[in-house]
Subunit: 443 residues, 2 copies
């Protein structure tokens, strides 16, 4: 049965067929459909699941979809779902929910779960503390491998992961980590402290979750220990959460690159107003910035009236300059995000991008000269060609250095979007074009 059929089943309220559909699909597939459905249908589907599967599906939902489903549940079902969530997932759900809803949730939890969730909520939004699981098995450094395995057996059932075991001293200070693999593969009389990997990196709970996640990716870690300011172990950031953090950051960067505000919802369940709102602010800023181009053209209006043919190439010229600038900006933002470029590389980046831009501009100038001569005449074509060289060199330099400058000033470099670069390059490109036109055409 296809997903198309699911929609029909939902419309006809064919409950047995719906239950059959749910039984034959994976929690992550069901979660995907819940994310796409409206609130009423999502809750209907959710209630048809048996308890264990309902929890598995719920964990796969993003915070806004979790909120959507929870809001439609009655008190007992509501508490069951919340009680069974991992504390870190719960903290993130509450972090994005209205305060009234959050209080309602915390009041419904058992004291143990409430304490854990409240502790996580104490860390700043987007910090490693918000994403870590406090349910870990830590090993005292004086244990043997046999003792340690016993500790894992006793306390492992409650832990989110047992594959990375933080090793701690008597004051809970972080000494290193031991993997369950090493525990299983080594004889029971060996000392934990001998097998502990003391070079494992750790992060502070207040560090940004994205930094922590990218560190896990670079260092190929399954779990990353999270410590407090005195190096005491608070929990572990697990790879599944790290992957979500990285993907969310990438989605955000991609949205920003097109000058849209990032938002956490599902594309298909977002309303037209939500989509428009996420894009409106930047479009408004950009249209005000684009007023500059009107001013520039007004300044050169006399030139434009003398040679109307110059107007024909305005979209081609500003478009090409914008494209070259957008390419450079996107490359720089990504290189910064994955750590290939640092802010102190500013001058090196400017130097190489200016050359890249001039090389590309020269190539495009040859094309521009051909098109211009064919469609208009040689002098205008020569103006266009010369402008392309300078505009591309300028656009690539500005496009690549602006994200680095932004980062130096403490602004998210992804804010330097392709449309922003394009708009800024447009006005300067037109100045270059008309100054060259006066020179070449002798106006």
């Amino acid at each position: 049965m296809t997903v198309q059929d699911l929609r029909q089943l939902l419309e006809t309220n064919d409950l047995p067929a719906l239950q059959d559909w749910l039984a034959r699909h994976h929690p992550h597939e069901i979660a995907d459909e819940l994310g796409r459905a409206d609130a009423v249908r999502a809750v209907l589907l959710f209630r048809l699941l048996d308890k264990d599967r309902a929890l598995a599906v719920f964990e796969e939902l993003g915070p806004s979809d979790q909120h959507k489903v929870l809001s439609g549940l009655r008190d007992q079902a509501f508490r069951d779902v919340l009680e069974a969530m991992d504390p870190d997932d719960r903290a993130r759900l509450l972090g994005e929910a209205p305060a009234k809803f959050a209080r309602h949730v915390l009041a419904g939890l058992s004291p143990r779960e409430r304490t854990m969730t409240a502790a996580l909520l104490g860390y700043p939004d987007g910090s490693a503390g918000r994403y870590m699981t406090p349910e870990t098995v830590a090993l005292r450094h004086h244990l043997t491998v046999g003792d340690a395995l016993q500790v894992v057996r006793e306390r492992g059932a409650d832990a989110e992961t047992v594959y990375t075991l933080p090793v701690i001293d008597d004051q809970r200070h972080f000494l290193g980590t031991l993997s369950l693999r090493d525990l299983v593969l080594n004889p029971p009389d060996r000392q934990v402290v001998e097998l502990t990997d003391t070079t494992t990196p750790r992060v502070r709970a207040t560090d940004p979750a994205e930094t922590a996640a990218r560190l896990m990716q670079e260092a190929n870690l399954l779990d990353l220990p999270v410590v407090d300011s005195e190096d005491r172990v608070l929990g572990l950031l697990t790879i599944d959460d790290a992957v979500e953090v990285i993907e969310a950051a990438d989605t955000e960067d991609i949205a920003r690159q097109s000058a849209a505000a990032p938002w956490s919802g599902h594309y298909m369940s977002a309303s037209v107003v939500q989509l428009a709102r996420s894009r409106a602010v930047w479009l408004l800023l950009l249209i005000f910035a684009a007023t500059l181009t009107v001013n520039v053209l007004q300044f050169f209006e006399a030139t434009l009236e003398q040679v109307t043919a110059l107007a024909l190439f305005i979209p081609l010229l500003v478009g090409t300059g914008g494209n070259a600038g957008a390419q450079a900006a996107t490359a720089a933002v990504r290189a910064l995000a994955v750590g290939e470029v640092r802010t102190r590389d500013l001058l090196r980046v400017a130097w190489r991008e200016s050359r890249v831009g001039l090389v590309l501009g020269t190539m495009l100038a040859a094309v521009g000269l051909g098109i211009g001569t064919l469609l208009v005449d040689f002098p205008v074509a020569a103006t266009v060609a010369l402008s392309l060289i300078l505009v591309c060199g300028w656009a690539a330099t500005i496009g690549a250095t602006m994200p680095l400058l932004a980062k130096r000033l403490g602004i998210d470099p992804a804010v330097i979007s392709a449309p922003l670069v394009t708009t800024l390059v447009d006005a300067t490109g037109l100045i270059i074009y008309f100054l060259l036109a006066r020179l070449v055409l002798g106006l």
Copy 2:
């Protein structure tokens, strides 16, 4: 000591200080510096590492950097490094290397390692087979937990992971998976088959690695079983490789979004020519497409000569339309990549984006009317305002539907880049503008 100092040390060839620097840094930090250094310095640094650390650093390098380092090593060191690599990492290195180099590598390997690598090389580039590790511990279904732990102890040292254990029948057919966690937490006399999770998804070795990696992310899996066409277990895709696959796909999508060809190198070690080449093809295609705008303007040249003021708003109008189209295209490409939108949603997407575009256009029209009246006169301003409404509606619709159409035609939707949408929208936007101008101004 900072990284800046490392450059100085490399220039002065201060070997003791370099060794000291290497000893105090993490493999992934050293790998990062190797990636940024030129070939000669990278090899120099690499040779200063002791054997174990050298391997750890080597595994952190991307294929092109691995190739850079290997090319500078003498035969024995070369073989040592290759022999110690995981078969899947080795296959990817060879897949991107020149044929001569690949033969040289295969000839130097021990028969066991050569067989594994050659088998992986038999799968298509970018397939799950290329990324899976064949070094896994599979469990026969009739074992007890105690037997199974014994199998893990005997064969786990050679395996890349022991956390996910595929459970197989006597013909090696896939039955499900068992986690090491469940093995450790359950009594030794329980049957493996009772604990096996039979709902674990698996992928074919020929399936795209990106699909497999996104499945792991959605279903929160540490390892994903890879099977052949008869459902026999070939290996596991591990989460660290899956994260790399996803990040590479995201980097590729981001590059494509700015109309640059994706390439696998490090930004700072790429030459000016390499950077220019990755961007040249699209810029050329786009400038040819932009010729359309010249044609359109030529067609309306008489109108333009009558009211030169119309020319003043060309960059603002095409720029704003381009921005609205770029936002919609980026949102659609990302929603497709993360699976929130499917190609059959085409009409729904077109319907909602046309409304989003009209809403945004109406808002921008108010601004355009103000700016236009202030700088020029009311009739031209009204033309600009009306054009903004229609152009934004059109741009958002085209921008969002083109990626879906591309995917339906079997083309990578990320090819529908913001610059491509912008360029295509420019010409149609100008037609709308001048037709409205004739109507409003009565020309």
